[in-house]
Symmetry: C2
Subunit: 594 residues, 2 copies
């Protein structure tokens, strides 16, 4: 190495040693003919002192330099107790500029409020900033821990293909033209789901991969076209076995990185999570549970509450809101597709205010505050309508109340498993009429054996051995025990309205594989970007991605995607459209050996 020491490692005990450092000029101060420089490298910073005036005169911010000098104890009174190297300084005798720096588009040191596109365009400078560099290192530490834990548990680290066939997760695939088979296209995988199930058929028994996945969605604020998944699958395992491995992984990550020992992780049934928190990923850092009021208003004359479901959530101190704030909630609800958010204000004297109160009978009013646990000064928000959508609205209101009223302990970690999700959920048309079923997880999720006989007669009631792990209201992972028998798989496809031909075309090869003694199996996948974000204490996954893309998948750094040349088009066979008789269905059937 061209240096003898890392700057951030120098301490009192190095005093008297001659050292060579290399790094960047973080700060420069000139004082009485003496130049002080904070020299920064990956380990931290050290103060370097140039006593001969001319040596350092042309050093500017972010020059990359190599300096040699003697470590000295700082003169009394000049120590910096906030810096690990604050007791020493290096008296420079030699300096070499390794490379100069042009003026910076934004400062590296200190907090800066820079437009994100500029930060991404100069991401290599952004990475020099302390917080950004730290986030990338936390993610790295996490990846090492993941490898360590999975190795201890005997998992086989297998790389699955990324130039493959469309996977059935339902989102749009990214496509890649295959030059050597003009008119044919690979798809980038949305997950290694099919391959990991094939590995189970192949007897691998314990599979693990940190897998890059791709989803061509309309990228919302915190979505990236490529993302990373910790992908796990086990044979001969029951739900509790998968959960044990997953919990060990999560515990180790939080212990080693966040310094937090996770206690027992509660299991909440999906139905309970929806009923109590209006969410399938409840934030358990605070209470404020929903109260179901359907019974309470069973005989109400208030038309709005004559609904299949009525629920309420309390806003502590919410009665003190201004008219404008209360109107704001109506807009908030409308943005979520609801008609509004009915509310009742519990006055300090216990009487009920707000427009809804007028529509309630005296009996309904008298017991209301007690029923929902509201105290004088609180507001009660109501939702009424179809159970699922209404609970989701109240769940969102609960979160919003938690945020506005500061009920969420930002230093807390609250984990839970949401279990026993339904296998199917209804598909509705524009008018809200059910027109079919779709998978809550994915079409390979096994129904609970004791529910299997209702699969056709009452699909909506069939629960799955499926599980999501939730941290502070974020779903960080999810999985299920899979179907491992072709007949059961076919039944599920039937409920989903997937024709034999469609099923065959999409994953005929999996059905074919299931003819050859597939083992019972199940697994889980963690969203690694989001986990790393939480571990780093950040609020955007872009903070833990070295080179994230901006909106619409544009990369301000490389300007990708770009136009291509006519030669590239021709060579890749992009404009070739194969003959009609060579359609996808047949190719699929061929692949499945049918």
């Amino acid at each position: 190495m061209i240096r003898s020491h890392e700057a951030g490692t120098l301490r009192r005990e190095h005093a008297g040693q001659r050292v060579t450092l290399a790094g960047w000029v973080a700060r420069r101060r000139d004082h009485g003919g003496v130049t002080f420089i904070d020299l920064r490298d990956a380990s931290g910073t050290a103060q370097v002192v140039f006593r001969e005036e001319d040596t350092a005169h042309d050093l500017r911010s972010e020059y990359c330099v190599k300096i040699t000098g003697e470590v000295r104890i700082r003169p009394e009174g000049n120590e910096n107790p906030e810096l690990p190297t604050g007791e020493i300084e290096v008296a420079a005798t030699e300096i070499e500029v390794l490379s100069e720096s042009a003026p910076l588009p934004f400062p590296i040191e200190g907090d800066v409020n820079v437009n994100e596109e500029v930060r991404l365009k100069y991401r290599y400078l952004d990475l020099r900033r302390e917080a950004v560099g730290r986030d990338i290192r936390i993610r790295s530490q996490g990846a090492y821990i993941v490898n360590e834990v999975m190795r201890e548990h005997g998992f086989v680290n297998v790389e699955t293909p990324t130039l493959t066939r469309s996977t059935p997760e339902g989102a749009r695939d990214f496509l890649v033209p295959a030059r050597l088979r003009p008119g044919h296209w690979y798809a980038l995988p949305q997950s290694p789901q099919l391959f990991k199930q094939l590995l189970m058929v192949g007897g691998v028994e314990r599979y693990f991969q940190i897998a890059r996945c791709y989803r061509d969605e309309d990228f919302r604020a915190d979505r990236q076209p490529e993302f990373t998944q910790i992908d796990i699958e086990m044979s001969f395992a029951e739900q509790s076995d998968v959960l044990a491995v997953a919990e060990d992984l999560v515990r180790r990550l939080w212990r080693d990185i966040a310094g937090h020992e996770i206690g027992e992780i509660p299991h909440i049934a999906y139905a309970d999570a929806m009923a109590r928190y209006g969410s399938d990923k409840p934030d358990l850092r605070f209470g404020l549970e929903l109260t179901e009021m359907t019974e309470y208003f069973a005989n109400t004359s208030f038309r709005v509450f004559q609904a299949p479901y009525v629920g309420a959530v309390v806003m502590p101190g919410g009665a003190a809101q201004t008219r404008k704030e209360l109107d704001g909630w109506q807009d908030w609800a409308k943005q979520r597709g609801a008609r509004g958010l009915a509310y009742v204000l519990v006055q300090e004297d216990g009487t009920l205010g707000g427009p809804v109160a007028k529509n309630l009978s005296d009996e309904e009013k008298s017991g209301l505050a007690a029923e929902v646990g509201a105290a004088p000064g609180d507001a009660i928000f109501f939702g009424a309508g179809k159970p699922h959508a209404t609970r989701e609205l109240l769940g969102a209101a609960r979160l919003e109340i938690g945020r506005r009223k500061g009920l969420i302990d930002e230093d807390a970690w609250a984990f839970c498993w949401v279990v026993d999700a339904p296998v199917f959920e209804p598909v509705e048309d524009d008018k809200g009429e059910q027109i079919g079923w779709t998978s809550v997880h994915h079409p390979f999720t096994a129904p609970k054996p004791e529910h299997a006989d209702r699969l056709v007669s009452d699909p909506g009631s069939v629960l799955a051995n499926a599980y999501d792990i939730v941290c502070n209201g974020n779903e960080i992972g999810g999985g299920s025990i899979r179907i491992h028998q072709a007949e059961m798989q076919q039944k599920v496809f039937d409920v989903l309205g997937l024709s034999k031909q469609e099923a065959e075309s999409k994953f005929g090869f999996l059905l074919e594989a299931f003819k050859f003694g597939p083992p019972p199996h199940g697994g889980i996948a963690f969203g690694w970007d989001r986990m790393a974000m939480l571990l780093a204490g950040e609020s955007s996954i872009r903070d833990v991605i070295a080179f994230p893309k901006a909106a619409s998948g544009y990369d301000p750094l490389t300007a990708a995607p770009t136009v291509i040349t006519p030669e590239q088009r021709a060579e890749a066979g992009i404009d070739v459209v194969p003959e009609d008789d060579e359609d996808e269905t047949e190719a699929g059937a061929e692949s499945a050996g049918a």
Copy 2:
């Protein structure tokens, strides 16, 4: 888990225990009303005995079963010392068929000679075969070791983008249409080269990644469109620092997986490797070095040897070859683009035979055998022509001789570093006239500082701080110290004849980054598929890839690539060709902030 023990772990000390196993029916034998089954799982096999006739009567090969029974010591004389579980058997009392198996396309047990396309189509069955499963597990073990070593050395594990901009490695890119910017395309990376250099500019200092890479080449027998690279880059490092990390990685892999302690790894200069072995990746498991004969034949009257380079390689015992065998060498040479392979046979009496001998003077003949180290009975092969191509021909002949004469110890491991490669090599036209220069490694390779002043005046003489690591004649990794200064980079582009505009368009963002205090840096990348292949003792990388593709990038398992629908074409914006004024060069310039 639905089993209590793994089959392959049962031993004498389990006798008397009631166990539940789950796995596959590997072999079945019926004998005197008793059924014996070899039950296989990932841990190995155990013999299961069914004494009640009807219990096991419908079990067939590769049924997936769960059995419960008592572990018993096998009756005397029935032990199988070749099996770790050979002292015991499990007397089954319960059996559950977890899933049945259709008749197999090829047997799982024993050696089978199956067409590779069939094996790949049913790869999940192929993976159940012992050797294939073992290879996948060796690769996994290797990946864990790589993570462990890089973590110990303080490297930051960083994931770089795979939906990115064309990289400059020179091979064809795989392209991905960007739906949200119709007419624009991402490229899949040929390596993370530019991103890892940007990470160095970003102060990461030690970067590591097991990176998926993509190259759209005409896939030769042992090439895959996607492949995996262990990618490493270090700042403030000199060549010896990179080599030390790389060697530690290689040593640990070979020690822990192959049980081999690698001794000191010799350094061979590129020029020496070419001169002595006719290869930049010499197989050092055997000697048989080339002898340069240019001086020896400096005044020859034999026209063929009046060449800028004449070299020879000896084939021990080669004089005994038949006329047909000797003619075969001529065809062999012609397949390599040479006109033939001149030879002289050293007869048992020391006289020289073969057609070339007639053309040599007595003086030339008399010293010849001694000069090349040939003994009576040997053949001497000659090459004459341009040095590089002729040495390569003789190097290939050396390898072929080694193979044919059994000179290669298949159990040996011979490593070397090939160092001091030239920065540039000539580009020749069809007639062999030099028309320019190209990079031996890639355009970011730094010239040795002491050669930098010859960069323009004599590019061919400029050597690089570049290094390849070679194992048994396979290049398993390579890297270099990089250029870290924009001016030097520009000079190299000039020699390569890359216009400012081209350079700007291809990697303007790297040149831009180099304006902001880039550190000196260097790195290495290992071809992980090939390394895993060597560690597994296999001869094809397909053996260590879970789901490899067949020729032309076709996947017999999923039938990828497939045709796509007109809707997919339209949605992905595949047929959109942007306006003229929005060409790639401008996009590049824009990205570089120029």
